[in-house]
């Protein structure tokens, strides 16, 4: 489903390449854990996977289409239709309420809108169903300004938004790093369940190794990424 080959990426302001990945494959529905130290380029890789950034060299195939060869608008279309994204924090649009935040992707993707409708009857019902599955459907919570939610609640809203319309790929960039250990595991379990329901593959990035056993597969970012292999690491190597 996701297939990277010989991908290189250099920030325009940097001298050296940040990312050099020979091969990376993610199967449909697979749950992949990517672990790596801070500053190693994990978030940058996720931007490449989502088609927000384009690699300097190599190919990134998502659902058979090479993101690197598509126009900006084409990549935006693919991302809107097939990718859900969860950030580390500040996931929510402050001027939208919980429901509006969850339904947001359906405003940008026809495909996800129809899929959400097919699953839930209509978009709002599907949003409500996802929120309920993530224990967020308490009365009063849905219409509340998102600025009044706790961080854990915000992350669950973000997960519901990433999952609505069942995108083939859910990308999570350290979504649990501001949660305590109990909530972190509960959140990951919920995310797994809903990804399985939606049939989405999950690429989950974190520097927190304790989550690794929960996943189908774990990759060390530093060994995946030739540009940041331990010998060339400047941020101090971590024990593998």
């Amino acid at each position: 489903m996701l297939d990277l080959q010989g991908v290189r990426f250099t920030w325009s302001s940097a001298r050296e390449a940040l990312i050099e990945i020979d091969v990376l494959r993610v199967a449909p529905g697979e749950r992949l854990f990517l672990r790596g130290p801070s500053g190693s380029g994990k978030s940058t890789l996720l931007s490449l996977l989502a088609g927000v950034l384009t690699p300097g060299a190599g190919a990134i195939h998502l659902l058979g289409r090479n993101l690197a060869a598509l126009s900006g608008a084409g990549r935006d279309r693919i991302r809107a239709d097939h990718v859900g994204f969860i950030f580390q924090m500040f996931n929510l649009i402050p001027y939208l309420n919980v429901m509006e935040n969850v339904m947001l992707p359906c405003a940008f993707s026809e495909r996800r809108r129809t899929r959400a409708q097919r699953r839930g009857g209509n978009v709002a019902q599907e949003a409500h169903r996802l929120l309920a599955a993530l224990d967020m459907a308490e009365a009063g919570l849905l219409q509340r300004p998102v600025t009044q939610l706790s961080v854990g609640q915000q992350q669950r809203v973000a997960a519901a938004r990433a999952l609505i319309g069942a995108p083939e790929l859910v990308i999570a960039d350290e979504p649990t790093s501001s949660l305590d250990a109990d909530r972190r595991n509960a959140f990951v379990e919920l995310l797994f369940r809903e990804c399985r329901q939606a049939g989405s593959a999950l690429v989950f990035v974190s520097h927190d190794a304790s989550l690794a056993p929960l996943f189908d597969r774990t990759l060390e970012f530093t060994s995946l990424n030739k540009a940041r292999s331990p010998s060339r690491q400047d941020a101090g190597p971590e024990p593998a």
Binding site: T44, A50, D76, F85, Q88, I93, Y95, E100, L104, R161
Partner: protein
Amino acid sequence: MSAIPTLAIKSLRNRRTTAALTVLSIACAVVLLLGVERLRHESRESFTNTISGTDLIVGARSSPVHLLLYSVFHVGNATNNISWDSYRSIAQRPEVAWTIPLSLGDSHRGFRVLGTSPEFFEHFRFGDRRRLELTAGRVLQDTYDAVLGAEVAAKLGYRLGERIVVAHGSGEVSFSLHQDHPFTVTGILARTGTPVDRTVHITLAGMDAMHEQMPAGRSADPLAAALGKHGANGGALHRPPQGEAHPHEDGDVRAGHADDGEHGAITAFLVGLKSRPAVLSMQRYVNDYPNEPLTAILPGATLPQLWEIVGAAEKALFGVSVLVVVVGLTGMLIALLTSLSERRREMAVLRSVGARPAQVFGLIVGEAVVLTLAGIGLGFALLYAGLLLGQPWLEARMGLFIPIGWPSTHEWSLATLVAIAGTITGFIPGYRLYRHSLADGMTIRI
């Protein structure tokens, strides 16, 4: 995509205090811009409409603009008069169809008094060649008749038959009252939107009779004495002594028509010609009049000179209001730019759900457009509120009647220019966010 306008509105609602203040500042700028332009346009319009159908205005030698101002607009005073003989001899020329003598210099409770003849009501035209109409009574007939302009009657609450006293000089405070010769209101004119509304019209004979009674002529004129520069001649500023003129016995004049016979000097007179092509030769004739230095002007040719004089002030005023619009839009720019850093996260989220960089750009520009349009809308509302409130005041104090009509095409184009300027202002923060969203990917940083 309909998502972007909805987001723009919701985002603005979320920051409603800033948004409201921004809208208000744009609205104030728009009110100023449109108000100044409307005032300028309407005052020109009303000046242009003050007189029509008159071929020449003749007065003592002076600058054309000065003559136009004091004779028709009742602004300022004449420096000299025209002798009755000169007036008669010009009026009797074969090219002349009609003349209207104008004798200014007195006032009634702050309103100008115009001594004239019944021809005034017959030949004077304003606006689109409209003639004066009476709402009550009749035009001037007897020596002590007075016909009031609409504003005079309304403001002072006069009705027909009321007896009024005319004062010398034109100030609100009368220096000497012509107590002996009270005039009787015999007619009230319909509203014209011109200085006629604020004028008390009396007969030349009535004016003469009144001034005959003045003790010691005009050297006692306290206004002239206070100004101190015209000396004994100061009287000529207003009305000359009438001693040498052929005095009318009161009863005499009442019996006959008010404009029969001879009068003292007059301030100016309006001329209608039998054929328009004669106007230039007639003007030359008057300007070269041998017995007395006179000036003849074509009202239509002198108005542009007046605009030239006031044009600089108008331009300055317009410039100031344009600057205020710039300040208003800069306020909006500041409000949008300061929100940008906190909004970069929001933009990353929008990008992650599939928004294109162009849509991120459109969101910010859309907010600028909404703010500007709201400001313009509120500006128009405030303008009309101001016009409704200010209309009576402007008419009473400035003699400027501002009709409340739909915005002119000029105003629409000004509003459109403001809208375009507001949109372009939005391009600045929009472009910055656009650049960020392209360069940063979805990495959120401060």
